[in-house]
């Protein structure tokens, strides 16, 4: 059998797992692993400028491809810098393996230099974690880590690797396991037949059904099944922020995003529905508004691979535990088998109602002569990219504008931190997307607050020549915070105004990128066109937008789903 050191085992295990790209930052506790990487040509390593960004890159790489993202960092600060990234992935169920260095085993607990209890610190935000106490444990721990990260409800897994365990001088027999089995872990993939039958019967009998599609449909690659089911039964479909693209945003049955900044038609359809079919969604508080007033007349059905998501926030009448893709396929097979169909007339009546709500055009806005509206920027971005770009968003108003004004045609086209809402996600995420899909145009939509949280990654772009387009919606303030302060805090803008934003054009140029300032509406389209024509360069568009613009619709706190502000002056009747 081949003899390898612990450090070599780490690298070989990654190779044997089929890992092609890894994001990381070296340091004392992982020098041996980095040395092993240096001597291996199979894995491409990307050196970041901050470990948090490495995790976001791996995360977005995973969101774009469905593969597991891989990160390598050193002990102590290297490891703790990853925590925000790991928590981001955890909240959105993204499969990651984070390999962290650790002080030698005999120093653990001694407050050694750069010692942190990474297993302890990361525990609340990982799916599982491993501490390897011997080199021989490494291949099996890494195999288990990738298995756990990618199966069931995916999530991040940490593998902590003490320095002595990596010792390049001590060699042990190496074998990478073909497969692993854990007696305490067996996620349910197939749905209960009886439940599926009952769910289908309920769908066929419903007068006012809504298909509520979340991130689980993206993760389980169920876009085809979702679309087929929706089309077969002529169901209105609403996507969550995490589900955008799972059902095409350009499909006529798409009624838009739901929830806090969802469309009028999506939120009213939910509120008035008699049947809600939740598919890989988790009734997040940003969706339901006040749970006491949630969809009073609806029977709720729910497919989720994670039983804890079912009946957590909202009581579910008909639960189905399983993978969205598998369960929906079972349901489609049942439809084909029984030649089932629903009452077209009842559904037509429901659609008529929905079309009336849709006619309100809740996303319409007032263009202005003096200011560029953020909505215009996203609409123009859609036109210039033909709706085909991967959009990696940061967090804030710009995120909601991108979600509502760029109809995503495909799953894995919209990359954002939905659950944790991590500012600083966008730029490293865009880099991860571009590495995963060099063939696709990748655009980071960001704000002047968010971009400055991980702006150092412009340097990573420079080093590896990763040509992304950055569209900064610059309102010189923390827009979403300011919107809340204007609406609910008497307009007191406590620390949400940034009078000292840098000259982003010069900043981009400092990193040898192209910076373009856009102040006037007529400059917008040519600037965007130029940005996407320059395929070999990073282009940073600093777009000055109307600083007073708010995101609407917006649900009214403590209300039901249908209670919304529709503009600064208008709200729903309730």
């Amino acid at each position: 059998m081949e003899m390898l050191s612990g450090a070599e085992m780490v690298v070989r295990s990654l190779q044997d797992e089929g890992i092609e790209h890894i994001f990381g930052y070296p340091g004392g506790s992982v020098l041996d692993i980095y040395d092993a990487i240096f001597q291996s040509s199979d894995i491409e390593h990307f050196l970041v400028r901050h470990e948090q960004a490495a995790v976001h890159m791996a995360d977005a790489y995973s969101r774009t491809t469905g593969k597991v993202g891989t990160v390598l960092v050193t002990a102590g600060p290297g490891a703790t810098n990853c925590i925000t990234g790991i928590a981001t992935a955890y909240m959105d169920s993204i499969p990651l393996v984070v390999l962290s260095g650790q002080v030698p085993t005999n120093w653990i607990g001694d407050d050694a230099f750069q010692e942190t209890d990474m297993i302890g610190v990361s525990r609340p935000v990982v799916k599982h974690s491993f501490l390897c106490r011997t080199a021989q444990e490494i291949p099996i721990a890494i195999k288990k880590a990738f298995y756990l990260a990618s199966t069931g409800r995916p999530g991040p897994v940490v593998v902590d690797l003490p320095k002595d365990v990596q010792n390049p001088l001590l060699k042990f027999p190496y074998e990478y396991p073909e497969s692993v089995e854990l007696r305490s872990y067996s996620p349910t993939l197939r749905g209960h037949k009886g439940q599926i039958k009952r769910a289908l019967a309920a769908l066929l009998g419903a007068k006012k059904p809504v298909l509520y599609v979340g991130g689980g449909a993206v993760i389980s690659n169920a876009s085809k099944q979702v679309t087929e089911l929706a089309e077969k039964l002529n169901l209105p479909v609403t996507n969550t922020l995490m589900g955008l693209g799972a059902f095409s945003g350009t499909h006529k049955q798409n009624i838009g995003m739901l929830g806090m900044h969802g469309t009028y038609e999506a939120n009213l359809s939910m509120h008035n529905a008699d049947l809600i079919f939740a598919v890989g969604a988790r009734f997040d508080d940003r969706v339901t508004n006040n749970v006491e007033k949630f969809c009073p007349n609806a029977k709720v059905m729910h497919i989720d691979i994670d039983p804890t998501s079912i009946s957590k926030n909202i009581h579910v009448d008909l639960p189905i535990v399983g993978s969205v893709e598998v369960v929906l396929q079972q349901m489609l097979d049942l439809i084909a088998e029984t030649q089932a169909s629903n009452d077209g007339e009842k559904i037509a009546h429901w659609w008529k109602q929905i079309e009336e709500w849709r006619a309100k055009e809740c996303l319409a806005y007032q263009p202005s002569n003096s200011h560029i509206k953020p909505q215009q920027v996203i609409e123009e971005l859609y036109k210039v990219t033909n709706g085909d770009a991967i959009i990696a968003s940061d967090v804030g108003q710009h995120q909601m504008f991108a979600a509502n004004y760029y109809p995503f045609k495909e799953p894995r086209q919209w990359i954002n931190s939905g659950g944790l809402g991590t500012m600083g996600f966008g730029l490293p995420a865009a880099i991860g997307c571009k590495i995963a899909r060099p063939d696709k145009p990748v655009c980071c939509v960001t704000g002047d607050g968010s971009i400055q949280m991980n702006i150092q990654e412009l340097s990573t772009c420079m080093q590896y020549n990763i040509p992304i387009v950055i569209v900064l919606l610059n309102n010189r303030s923390l827009g979403m915070v300011k919107q809340w302060q204007k609406m609910f805090y008497g307009g007191r803008q406590s620390h949400s105004y940034m009078d000292s934003v840098p000259d982003f054009v010069k900043l981009a140029e400092a990193y040898n990128h192209i910076g373009i300032k856009v102040d006037k509406i007529e400059e917008l389209q040519p600037a965007l066109e130029r940005a996407f024509e320059l395929k070999e360069r990073v282009v940073f568009l600093d777009v000055a937008i109307d600083p007073e613009e708010h995101v609407y619709p917006m649900q009214i706190k403590f209300g039901s789903m249908e209670d919304m502000y529709l503009s600064k002056t208008e709200k729903t009747d309730a």
Partner: protein, 166 residues
């Protein structure tokens, strides 16, 4: 309402902290927790007693426990016939003969055992359901000074065929 949850989990370092972490992270309370390896040394058996507001939160708690990768089985004991026991060691200061006799008498009534004696101290071992141990403490408190009390927390098992096995 009071619940007793039995958990069968991998006997591995970190497994206990994951369970305890889950409780604090999700805002669940733990009234008592006992854990020890089973006859199969690769497994640990844990008994958790907790207060829950309703059945839905109990169900959510059990699902969350089951979601932990280390956990094999989870079951609730109070919904069926079960046996629960807690062990208490209690050290009592007994200066007079009279007090010593009173402690001995109480201990006998509660079917306790005196496991250590010094000139002025009796240490008594007592097992039973929580309320029995509580009652013993209040009885003793009336006549003697309690020096220290250590209680194991509840251990529980289902009656009959029902079993939690790997």
């Amino acid at each position: 309402m009071r619940s007793i949850i039995s958990v069968l989990l991998e006997n591995e370092s970190g497994a206990l902290s994951r369970v305890v972490g889950l409780f604090s992270q999700r805002g669940y309370n733990i009234e008592s927790l006992t854990v020890s390896p089973t006859n199969d040394k690769t497994l640990s058996r844990m008994t958790i007693t907790t207060e829950v507001t309703d059945l839905a939160s109990l169900e959510q708690m059990m699902k969350q426990l089951h979601k932990l990768v280390d956990v094999l089985r989870v079951s609730e004991l109070t919904e069926g016939a079960h046996v629960e026991r807690e062990l208490m060691l209690i050290k009592i200061r007994t200066i007079t003969n009279e007090a010593r006799e009173e402690v001995k008498r109480c201990s006998d009534i509660y079917r306790g055992q005196i496991v250590d004696i010094t000139q002025n101290l009796y240490t008594i071992q007592l097992s039973g359901i929580c309320s029995k141990l509580d009652a013993f403490i209040s009885t003793i408190e009336e006549t003697s000074e309690i020096v220290e009390v250590v209680r194991s927390g509840v251990c529980g098992i289902a009656r009959g065929e029902k079993a939690l096995r790997g």
